[in-house]
Symmetry: C2
Subunit: 117 residues, 2 copies
């Protein structure tokens, strides 16, 4: 229905949400958020799963454009792309409510800290 401009990127929202629906894939995003540009083998070593499983998950993340890759010889470096996440946010949170919400989530974080020890 919507014609997307292919100039910057393509976002298929179903692919993105399906990609985020799996714990392992979210953990892979966490790893890349902490440090970008890792190879499949390096990521595999952080997850208790075979290389094949991890490769499959990374492929799903790529196709959702949540992860972008750069090839370097026989290695494939993985990078986190935050744009689709930002679009999720913008879909259900309006500009004027955002600051108040940010304050609330901040408060939540503080309460957690206080609880943690």
């Amino acid at each position: 229905m919507t014609k997307w401009s292919p100039i910057l990127w393509e976002m298929d929202d179903d692919r993105v949400f399906k990609a985020l629906a799996d714990r392992t894939r979210r953990f892979l995003l966490d790893l890349l958020y902490a440090r970008d540009g890792r190879t499949l083998t390096e990521l595999e070593s952080e997850v208790s799963m075979t290389r094949f499983g991890v490769a499959k998950h990374l492929k799903v993340l790529e196709e959702a454009d949540l992860v972008v890759v750069r090839r370097s010889g026989r290695e494939k470096l993985h990078y986190l792309n935050p744009v689709p996440i930002r679009l999720i946010h913008d879909r259900w949170i309006d500009k004027y409510a955002a600051p108040r919400l940010a304050a609330l989530t901040e408060l939540k974080r503080e309460l957690e800290q206080r609880d943690d020890h």
Copy 2:
């Protein structure tokens, strides 16, 4: 691992992402984003699915805390809760990158508009 403060709300991140992974459920959130406080019957009329299907989806959204309900007699009014969405955003987008990203997504939106007609 993290002890959550039950004071404000509980967030099970898996429930949230699984809930968002379905097109119909996202559409229900869109409907509630446009106008809050609707009943099951009203929401059902907007979707080509039986009442049972819609009820099941709403239950999933409730359990994920993406929708909160208020009972009024025999009716059940549904409201959108943006907090879990905000938490998704905060997980993978750092505070300093957010403004630049917002500009990018804004540009994207403009390009779409230009394309659309």
